[in-house]
């Protein structure tokens, strides 16, 4: 049972470089999310998707782009990495929520990203 898989697990970038983080889920979930976790800040939502071909901004979307071309994949892109984007990134997925947020999210194990 793979669940939610994130690649890569670790990465070091130089300021200005670009990269893409990949999230794949095998649970046929409609919803997918990208979070970042920083010390003392909890998890903050970057972008999310409620279905294939859709994306929406979360709390902290600046500096990131996302794409959901296939239902099972959700990509997070950094076009020009900055030291402030050093963080641990978590992807999550869930079943479609009704009018109430009653579907728990399933998380990947995270990508630790350092920007020098």
């Amino acid at each position: 049972n793979a669940g939610v898989t994130q690649t890569p697990k670790f990465r070091v970038l130089k300021t200005g470089q670009s990269m893409t983080l990949l999230c794949a889920q095998d649970m046929n979930h409609e919803y997918m999310y990208w979070y970042r976790q920083d010390p003392g800040m909890g998890l903050r939502l970057i972008h999310y998707s409620v279905g294939e071909g859709t994306t929406a901004k979360g709390e902290v979307p600046d500096g990131y782009n996302v794409s959901r071309l296939k239902k099972q994949n959700f990509l997070l892109g950094l076009e020009s990495a900055a030291p402030s984007q050093t963080s641990v990134y978590f992807c999550a997925s869930s079943y479609r929520m009704g009018t109430r947020g009653d579907q728990p999210q399933h998380f990947g194990d995270g990508t630790r990203l350092s920007i020098l």
Binding site: V4, Y31, Y33, Y35, G40, M41, G42, L43, R44, L45, Y48, V50, A56, G58, E59, F90, A92, M97, R100, G101, D102, P104, Q105, H106, F107, G108, D109, G110
Partner: protein, 110 residues
């Protein structure tokens, strides 16, 4: 501004005793509240949730209490076990978004 707050960064409890983790929120539009548990180098895993129309939900050793008037929820773990040592996040949902607290690190001492 942090809409979901966990004011205790850490908590230590003796094995067999009760662990009480607290969470406060500011947005009265939140309709579901969830607790997640996180071990180092792993992603959070769902533990228990409660709808805003209820004031208590129980699942084995875990019970979540919701006080809407105080905008406060708590997670009770009874009895606490060493394997419960982890970081616990509370989260609140509104429409498609979830808002997380900063986490409380629980240590259960054998």
């Amino acid at each position: 501004d942090q809409q979901v707050k966990q004011n205790s960064p850490s908590l230590s409890v003796q094995e067999g005793r009760i662990s009480i983790l607290n969470c406060d929120y500011t947005n009265s539009m939140f309709d579901y509240f969830l607790w997640y548990k996180k071990y180092p180098a792993e992603g959070p895993t769902f533990l228990i949730s409660i709808s805003s129309i209820k004031d208590k939900n129980e699942d084995g050793r875990f019970t979540v209490f919701l006080n809407k008037s105080a905008k406060h929820l708590s997670l009770h773990i009874v009895p606490s076990q060493p394997g419960d040592s982890a970081v616990y996040f509370c989260a609140a949902s509104a429409v498609h978004q979830f808002y997380f607290g900063t986490g409380t690190s629980l240590t259960v001492i054998p």
